[in-house]
């Protein structure tokens, strides 16, 4: 129950996803509750990135699991999505009733390009990081080519990426060829 309350609190004030979560988690879980040590935090965080899914939710579930097993995992998951879920629901219902309002339309016409610009900025920053290694540069460019020019679905590319990673490992480390 405490796990649920703690993660619900974090979920309520978390804006902008995974990376914004770390300081909040530190304050609540490490300082207030004393559930884990600061050094362990980075372990949870690294692991959350390897598991499929959202980093913020994964980190919460890993901590929940460490504390109380399967039930802890469940409590942490429900906690972290609880408040955002109801906020969004309220917003979506209000949106349905007010969608003809001129002010709301204007607001959305500003929000849409802002989201697109934000995504482009994130993409630019990520590309700057990826192109530091030759492998990163090649993979990023090939992915853009396949997805944008040829139109390969993202699903296929992701599965292909995992397969390529495993193949790369076999070729490089086991020297089977």
């Amino acid at each position: 129950m405490q796990i649920f309350v703690s993660f619900a609190k974090i979920g309520a004030v978390l804006f902008g996803g995974g990376y914004a979560m770390l300081p909040l988690l530190e304050r609540e879980v490490v300082e207030r509750r004393g559930w884990c040590k600061l050094e362990d935090m980075s372990d949870y965080y690294a692991m959350a990135q390897l598991i499929p899914g959202v980093i913020a939710v994964n980190t919460s579930m890993l901590m929940g699991h460490q504390l109380r097993g399967v039930f802890g995992t469940l409590a942490a998951m429900l906690g972290i999505v609880l408040v955002p879920f109801f906020v969004l629901l309220a917003y979506a219902i209000a949106f349905d009733y007010m969608s003809e309002l001129a002010v709301l339309k204007d607001a959305m016409s500003g929000l849409r390009p802002a989201v697109a610009g934000l995504m482009a900025g994130v993409a630019f920053t990520m590309f700057n990081r990826s192109r530091k290694t030759p492998l990163g540069l090649i993979v990023a460019l090939v992915t853009v080519f396949l997805a944008l020019v040829i139109g390969v679905p993202a699903v296929c590319l992701i599965v292909g990426g995992v397969v390529a990673g495993i193949a790369w490992f076999f070729v490089k480390y086991l020297r089977i060829f």
Binding site: M77, S109, G110, A114, V115, M119, G121, G136
Partner: protein, 196 residues
């Protein structure tokens, strides 16, 4: 009911396929929604924007809101069905990680530094970058030109949108402004432009 089951299976799939965090999920959600004809790119931009200015993880919020919108379109006037859609989207996108966490906690300490893991991630990180670049290209085109049926892009370019896209891009790259404030500015700009 068919739509609800479809939502559950689609978001479950999206949940499995997302490696390396929520950002990687955005291109997949976008493509799946358009492939199924559930959301057009304007609707997706709205959802993505709202998902970032409400609390919570972006991609879970996107799943919640998408589930709601899809069910609201499929069953007009039935509010509880839409809410059920939101619930289905939220839970099913988290489910794969729920199973993985329970399994992974057992084996994690043994394999975390394993070279196989590292080489998968060496490929997945730039691959996700490429996907984000592609998704953002689509989103920029869609926000600037609208979803014009005629696909006559050049004539439908909206100068105000172009300006906002460029400002948002520059602010993100050079000032690291928090998305929440950035999108807030976008909303204010939109209302201000509407008043003029």
């Amino acid at each position: 009911m068919g739509t609800l089951l479809k939502i559950i299976s689609v978001f479950f799939k999206i949940g499995i396929l997302t490696v390396g965090g929520g950002l990687a999920m955005i291109p997949v959600i976008q493509q799946e929604m358009e492939r199924l004809g559930w959301l057009n790119s304007q609707q997706f931009l709205d959802i993505l924007g709202v998902a970032q200015i409400t609390p919570g993880a972006i991609s879970v919020n996107t799943a919640t809101f998408s589930g709601y919108t899809v069910m609201a379109d499929a069953y007009p006037g039935q509010l509880w069905m839409a809410c059920l859609g939101a619930l289905a989207g939220t839970i099913s996108v988290c489910m794969p990680s729920f199973f993985c966490v329970n399994i992974a906690s057992q084996v994690w300490s043994r394999y975390r530094e394993h070279d196989c893991m590292l080489s998968i991630f060496n490929i997945m990180r730039p691959l996700v970058t490429g996907l984000i670049i592609t998704a953002s290209a689509f989103l920029v085109v869609s926000s600037v030109c609208g979803d014009s049926e005629a696909r006559n892009y050049l004539s439908s370019i909206d100068c105000f949108s172009v300006g906002v896209v460029i400002c948002a891009f520059l602010l993100t790259v050079y000032t690291r402004m928090k998305p929440f404030y950035l999108l807030g500015l976008g909303i204010i700009a939109g209302i201000g432009y509407g008043l003029l």
